[in-house]
């Protein structure tokens, strides 16, 4: 990574020669520095607080999100129900929190799948090159352009809608940008002196990839992972909205929006509550990404 050399000349030789050196130096300079020294700011703390609130909320709001009470049909927000009740008398706040759980589980799991596959395919293509590189990248180019929501609809129609299907579909359709990014980085890294040094003492390709190159990909993958998380949260909400994701009675921000459609005129809080929860989450995630992304990395990502 060239930027390390630019920042700290004295460490440059270490980075070039030792895989372990590259790992340690890269970590210290890129991630830790950027997170701790430069950017621990009020937005970041508020963002973390938002996640804590979403995850610990059910400990304080001890209401069953699926409990139907038809005597409390569409009540406006009050002390009894902080965000009001929906068309079945269910507590909206409890449902927003239940939706958060679903959204984050699907978000993190499918982002993990995308990261894993993307790194594997991308670094293989980048390191080995040749026809494998060609094949993988051709596939990536094409499938990047296929609208994911159509694939999700197809899968939901064929295999039914559900959390598991959603995680797999979003994860399996999201690895392409990661692969592009990883490929570019690996192609850059493999020209470094320590790779040649490792090869000359007989290290295998898999060893160089796993012990040497993978650790150096860390920061780039972190940013790619956050982008994937953002994408997965949006897709989950959209799919659930269309009835191809989380199905009622289980709560999801997407299917809460579907039910709220009928009451937009009379009870707008039914739409505003899950909608703003979604937007705030996306803002927080976007902010985390901006915090870690160095200008150089941003430039790389634009192409993806």
């Amino acid at each position: 990574m060239v930027e390390i050399d630019e920042r700290n000349e004295s460490l440059a030789p270490l980075v070039r020669v030792l895989p372990g050196g590259a790992k340690a130096v890269k970590n210290r300079l890129l991630l830790t520095n950027r997170l701790l020294k430069r950017r621990i700011s009020i937005p970041v703390i508020l963002g973390l607080l938002w996640f804590v609130l979403l995850l610990t909320g059910p400990l304080f709001i001890r209401i069953d999100p699926n409990r139907i009470d038809l005597y409390r049909f569409v009540e406006p927000p009050s002390f009894n129900a902080l965000l009001g009740t929906d068309e079945n008398g269910r507590d909206v706040l409890a449902r927003v929190l239940a939706g958060a759980r679903v959204s984050l589980i699907i978000g993190f799991s499918s982002a993990a799948i995308s990261l894993l596959l993307g790194t594997a395919f991308g670094s293989l293509a980048g390191y080995l090159g040749g026809w494998l590189d060609n094949l993988i990248m051709r596939f990536v180019d094409f499938s990047l352009a296929v609208p994911t929501i159509i694939i999700i609809l197809l899968v939901a129609a064929v295999y039914g809608a559900g959390e598991f299907q959603l995680i797999l579909t979003i994860g399996l359709t999201g690895w392409m940008p990661v692969a592009r990014l990883a490929r570019g980085q690996v192609r850059e890294l493999k020209e470094m002196l320590w790779v040649e040094a490792s090869q000359s003492i007989g290290a295998s390709a898999s060893r160089i990839l796993i012990r040497g190159i993978m650790p150096a990909l860390g920061p780039v993958l972190f940013i790619a992972g956050v982008s994937e998380l953002r994408r997965a949260v949006i897709l989950e909400a959209t799919a659930s909205f269309l009835g191809a994701g989380i199905l009622l009675p289980n709560a999801s921000w997407g299917n809460m929006l579907t039910s709220a459609q009928v009451y937009l005129l009379t009870a707008p809080w039914l739409a505003l509550a899950p909608g703003f929860a979604l937007s705030i989450t996306l803002l927080v995630v976007g902010n985390f990404r901006a915090v870690v992304a160095a200008p150089r990395l941003k430039k790389k990502e634009r192409v993806a």
């Binding site: 609208p147 609809l153 191809a244 997407g254 459609q261 937009l264 996306l282 803002l283 976007g286």
Partner: protein
Amino acid sequence: MFLFTVKRFFYAALTLAVLAIVVFFALRIAPGGPVAFLMGPDQSNREREAAIAKNLGLDQPLLIQLWRWLGNMAKGDFGYSYFHRQDTLAVISERFPATLELALVCFTLAIVLGVGAGALAAYFSGSIFDKFVSNTALIILAVPSVWMGLLLIVIFAATLKILPSAGQETLGNSGNILDHLAHLILPSLSLSSGYIATFALNTREVVAETLSADYIRTARAKGLSESWVVFRHAIRNALIPIISLGGMALPDLLGGSAVVEAVFAWPGIGQLMVDSFGRRDYPVVLAISMLVAVTVLFCSWLSDVLYHLADPRIKYG
């Protein structure tokens, strides 16, 4: 150039064929099918089941069905919709114009507003306008199109009551251009907002980078007029990433329109797609998949041509 076009065409045809086969089998592996759907409430009549299957040609071996379908498609015959009892092409062409209209309007908005705002922000880098554009774009990106649609309805249709919230035109008022445009505003805004923001952010970054390049300083030093420097030197060189964004946005808009059509009851192909998947209306699903694939391939070909036009150093093909 000619050889590249031929090669490109060959790859496109190959991709389409592979995709057709994959979608075909993905649909057939799935449990349930059109026969069960068409039989309605009486699911026990085996003779009728067999008759329907025979009528639709579904009693034939899979490979023969696949071969027939591919062969007919090559002749431009997409088969007969099981549900609509109409020619598939007729079903699709009835709905497609509305979707195309929405997608093209959104694409134009994204290019004009997104690229325009981004380029201006880059030119006045660091100004209040620049900060306004960047921050607005970041906020818009946190509002997915579903939620944006509902929000716009709450604001403009429910509260201010100035714009219609659904449909393509007021009943009994067809042919009225103003009425049509009024119906188009909210759906196209909610579909395009995300693209406008993405285009603005990316354009801003690319143009800002280009404007700080050495050759721009040289151009200015030569005494070229400011507009010449910006339009002939800077914008043209910043075009490449914008083209690749645009090339991916257009097919993506087809998928996005499925969502917006559901929110605004827009009579497009999106709803047809969702319903046909559910009904296992094989001919329609397959035809729509092919339509999306052709759009994807066409846009990727178009962006390659545009790359070449924007930067002759890039070889076409």
